[in-house]
Every structure is written in C-alpha cells, then in structure tokens.
Amino acid sequence: MAALDTAWRGIGAPGVWLTGAERVMIVEEARAARACELCHARKAALSPAAVEGRHSAITGLPQASVEAVHRIVTDPGRLSEAWYRRVIAMGISDEAYVELLSVVAITTAVDTFDRAAGSARRAMPVPREGEPSRRRPRGAKPGLGWMPMLAPEDVASDDPPLYESGGRIGGNVHRALSLVPEAMMQFWDMFETMYLPQEAMRDFGREYRAIDHAQIEMLAARVAVQNQCVY
C-alpha cells in the first residue's frame, strides 16, 4: 500500500516542531510501549493516574514525550484533559504534542496493518537532517478540543491547504491535528486510502473496496469499541 510507505518514510523527515531524529524516536518508543510494565499496571488499574512509576523508555525523549507516547499507545480510551494538562506541564508544547500524536497514529496504522495482513514489521524510518520549520497557523483558536485548532474558515492563504483534498469538510476529527497542518495532512492522506475519502463514505450506491460499506463500518465500529473511543 503506497500511502503507508509514503507516510512511513515521511516520519524520518524534519517536521514542523520536531526533528527527523525525534520523530523516529517516537516510533521506537511507540513500539516499546506495549512491553512497558508501568503501562501494563496502569491499564489494569481502575484509575491509571493512581499508579506511579517510570516508563520502560528506550529512547532519549523527554519524560513528557515518553508519557504521551506510552499512554496514547496503550490506553487511549481513558485519556482526559486533566492528563493532557499534566503532560503539557511536564514540558512539551501544544504544537509538539500534536505532531507527536500524528507520528504515533501513523506508527499505529502501519504496524497494525502489517500485523493484520501477515507482513513482517517494517524497518525503522531513516531520520533525515534538517531543522523543524516551527510555523504555527495564525488562525488556530482554543475551544474545541484540548489544544487550539484551525477551522476551515480560519485557514490563511499562506497556510498549507489542509482541507482541500478528499472532500475534507472540517469535521471535528479533521480538525484534531490542525494545529500542525502538515501533520494533519500526512495522517489524512494515509488514512483516506485505508478507509474511504469523504465523498465515498456516503456514496452507498457504489462499492470502492473488496468489502462493502456495511462491512467497513462494522469493522470501524468494532475497533472503536475495542479502543473505548467515544467519538
């Protein structure tokens, strides 16, 4: 699947707030999180916040990033705004967190697909030299989610065209990563090839995949239940 290859390679490139090396370390940490004893203990606890300890980190990422990566990977359904505020207070910016979230999401998509399809886990992306561009969209506003987001009507002419392909209507899930438009576009360019572009979702008179609309939506719903996703 070419879109997965493109997204995977793209992780190694310098991002907007993170270097290529930092982005690749997020992939390493995301893969290691599933074997982390602290994460296992928190997952089993009634309240994950009540379990203290240190993650079995394998990279040099700051503790805030390690905590974010591990919890997003191992217990996403119980993340809360209070948890997010604690992570930000540990020393990661809203923007870097959003970029981290997109890298974890791409890593999850690629690794879950390879595992499900019976393919070997692929080699780590190769980090590339270069500095993050550090550009924040001026129109991003707080209020929808935990961090500021960029609504379609607030996109400026010098912002990346994050809502222009695939019929992206600016639903809340489209806006989730919009504080870092490049991260949003990397994720959605990949995701739409795995699921369906917006215009195909409600085109029930035509099937776009080897499984039909109902089968696709049943799978989507089941995975959401497994991950305790309310959205």
């Binding site: 699947m1 309240s47 997003i72 996403p76 359904g77 119980r78 993340l79 809360s80 209070a82 948890w83 979230l101 997109s102 974890v104 999401a105 999850t108 998509a109 690629v110 690794d111 879950t112 697909f113 499900a116 399809a117 019976g118 929808l144 989610g145 935990w146 961090m147 639903g171 809340n172 899930v173 806006r175 989730a176 990563l177 994720f187 795995m194 699921y195 409600r202 029930f204 995949r209 080897a210 499984i211 039909d212 609309h213 109902a214 089968q215 696709i216 939506e217 049943m218 799978l219 989507a220 719903a221 089941r222 995975v223 239940v225 497994q226 991950n227 305790q228 996703c229 309310v230 959205y231």
Partner: protein, 112 residues
C-alpha cells in the same frame, strides 16, 4: 455510517452484536471479520487463523482491505482520544439513545 448503509440497502443492522462482539448485526461475513478485527487490535495469537478465515470466505483482496480499515481505525481512534475533540452536536443528538443503550457513553466515565 452503518445506519446509512442499512437505509440504502433496506437492512436494519444491529449494533448490539458489534459492541459486545457476539454477532447478530446482519452484516455479511460478520463472524470472520469481527474475529479478525479483535485479533489484530488486541494482538491475539489466533490472528493468523482469523486472517485465513477471512481469506477463505471473502478472498485475499478483501482481507487486505479489512486489514487497512482495522489499522486505520486503530490509529484514528487515538487521534480522536488524544486531542479531546467532542462529538459534533447533531451526531450526539442523533445517536444519544443507542449510545446510552449500548453502554458507549460509559466510556466517558473511565477517563482520568
């Protein structure tokens, strides 16, 4: 979206079996696909067996497309839950009864 699909083809799909994993949704090849999704997401040792059942019932291409959907939603649920986005008000209103009935709203109380 599943309700929309059902309206189009005149089938009243049931969500209960999808939520509890017991089946009965009315979707074709439900048992094979649900088992495949569960095994892929929770890293079950039976994943290879489940994959084989999907290939036997629907073909290799369908298995690949199912794997893509499962993986895509394993990722996008993390984007949604990791950003704190709310469900849009019209969707929340339209789905309030069955989300409550199926226990999906209880997920909110588990957050910490």
């Amino acid at each position: 979206m599943l309700r929309g699909s059902g309206k189009h083809n005149g089938t009243d799909y049931s969500f209960e079996g999808i939520v509890d994993g017991d089946g009965g949704s009315g979707v074709a090849a439900e048992a094979e696909l649900l088992a495949f999704a569960d095994a892929a997401v929770v890293m079950d040792d039976r994943l290879g067996e489940c994959r084989g059942h999907v290939v036997d019932r629907l073909g290799h291409g369908a298995m690949i497309d199912a794997a893509a959907v499962i993986a895509g939603f394993d990722a996008i649920t993390r984007v949604a839950d990791g950003s704190g986005i709310p469900l849009e008000a019209p969707k929340a209103e339209a789905t309030a009864e069955w989300r409550n009935r199926l226990g999906i709203d209880a997920f909110w109380t588990m957050k910490s």
